[in-house]
Symmetry: C2
Subunit: 329 residues, 2 copies
């Protein structure tokens, strides 16, 4: 398929140029394109920094701004950013209140953020790390084995709001860990992402089938014939509620498009899944439907449920002004 | 390809159910699913109403809310809504200040909105119509022959902001006509939308080629080999500036994804096209990059340029709170 790019190895740099030019009122691109950060740093606030492979836009760069991240480090497409990117981002945005890294639980991301944390600790910055591991793809039974997916946006939003209010580093880490513990995602796809150095999608399933438990880099999970939207939603909601201990109370519910699915299909799945969540005794108190964590042009979607406890709903509602999430400013 | 739907003929109804449930804090679904409107109507304000075929989400239903539309009427997928939908929408939201229809210049849409305007005029509502015809697809030389595309969102936003401030009907119509006259769009695609009653995309071009001048319903235009993003942007910007009389001053620049293109490619095209616009003496004063007017899962994008004259930039910046556009609230 023809792609809207110049050289394959310039995609990330070209994309960052466009992204930062379009958002130059609030964001700037760090030297060498190593990170994106807010135009104005906020003194005496914990610096909240994210990052990960590119190709998942708007994650993470689209969530830099008031009420969410202070900076984000984009790697190559589906490749972790390097430690020097995070170190430079810390030097650019960190004040005297410490640094919180929000990291998707992917091996290379974890390794590189851990290494960066070690280095910047030596430079007098206190650093804590929240690992997001919401993705039930692959049927991982332990939190340590689960990877990070669309729940990352929810952790970034709630923790970012608390940081903006002046919450301290240890408390922010505890909050992030709790939001993560309260969050599960599951993804399905009909067609994998088409990498820019290939001409074909990573996978395609037959008509009537779905890759169940696809991850955000397009690893297809198990292929199954599930039926229509109601049946698909039923299996997805069951997978989430089998693992997440939630039978009453308020939840935040995110239906996330992976980049190649019509919006109207996301709305159909939302309707079906919401009915199921309510049938299981949950109150869908907050919702988000759209392409928030994509996988290039993968066709499919993920569902994410977060149990809203303590102050989480208020922090979710707090003002946010980023390229991809904006409200109440 | 497997789709995330139940019955094909229930897609629009199922999608509206999901959409309205997800946005129930601000929006309601009209009786029989004929329209979506604000939960709270605003007295003594011109009622601004849009509508058109479904499959272009978030257009039009996603732009209902404070600062944009009062109601929107969704038709079948790529099919015009019927006159009774608009008539019911008017009865639900119109006060004593009149009604403005913002209509994409498509034959059936125009006919049905015209008919509805005739009927509601008999019911003591003063009605004016703004036809949006920004789309250069097909190389249409006259405004009357051009169809409505992503520029619709810009007309809705600027006119909606003025309506919220209490601007009168005749002045709103003149404003809408002027924004439309100042706006041109051109689209390209590599793969057409896959209708839900078929298994294959409407069209696919060969590697290295593009359908140039695709319209938002997936009519492919002419197939050409243009090269990479820089060359593609060059042809698109040239098409717009050949028709739009703009060689200096501020413009609003929208890069719109059609539903199946990775966000990072939209950012690459934005960077390339912005450089070209600036090279032609224009100042890109406002930008928007994302899937604002889709065509199901069509892979491709459109560029839209609006010359910002008079009060347009201020009205663009005014507070807006809709599912798909939100800022400064």
């Amino acid at each position: 398929m023809t792609r809207l790019i110049n050289q394959v190895d310039a995609i990330v740099a070209d994309g960052l140029d466009g992204f930062c030019a379009a958002n130059s009122d609030t964001l700037v691109l760090g030297e060498g394109g190593k990170f994106v950060c807010r135009r104005k740093t906020v003194p005496h606030k914990v610096a909240v920094i994210g990052g990960g492979g590119s190709g998942h836009e708007p994650l993470d760069i689209g969530y830099v701004g008031h009420g969410m991240l202070d900076a984000a480090c984009p790697g190559g497409v589906f490749f972790s950013p390097t430690s020097d990117q995070m170190i430079d981002a810390v030097e650019a945005v960190a004040g005297d209140a410490g640094v919180l890294f929000i990291v998707k639980n992917e091996r290379a991301d974890v390794m590189n953020f851990d290494h960066a944390a070690e280095i910047v600790s030596e430079h007098q910055h206190e650093v804590r790390i929240v690992r997001v591991c919401d993705d039930l793809a692959g049927g991982a039974d332990s939190a340590a084995a689960r990877r990070g997916a669309a729940g990352t946006v929810i952790v970034q939003k709630i923790v970012g709001a608390a940081a903006e209010e002046g919450t301290g580093l240890a408390e922010l880490q505890a909050l992030g860990d709790k939001v993560n513990a309260n969050t599960r995602s599951i993804g399905v796809a009909m067609r994998g992402p088409t990498a820019h150095d290939t001409t074909e999608p990573g996978f395609e399933v037959s008509e009537g089938e779905l890759a169940f438990g696809v991850d955000i880099r397009g690893k297809p999970g198990s292929v199954r014939a599930l039926g229509g939207a109601d049946a698909i939603a039923d299996k997805m909601v069951a997978a989430i509620l089998d693992d997440l201990d939630a039978s009453s109370g308020d939840v935040l519910f995110l239906v996330n498009g992976f980049g190649g699915t019509p919006v109207i299909e996301l709305q159909v799945i939302y309707a079906a899944a919401r009915r199921l969540l309510e049938g299981r005794g949950l109150n869908v108190a907050r919702s988000l439907v759209g392409g928030y964590v994509t996988s290039l042009d993968m066709a499919g979607c993920s569902l994410t449920v977060t149990k809203l406890e303590d102050d989480m709903a208020r922090l979710w509602d707090a003002p946010v002004h980023t390229p991809a999430l904006r409200w109440r400013m």
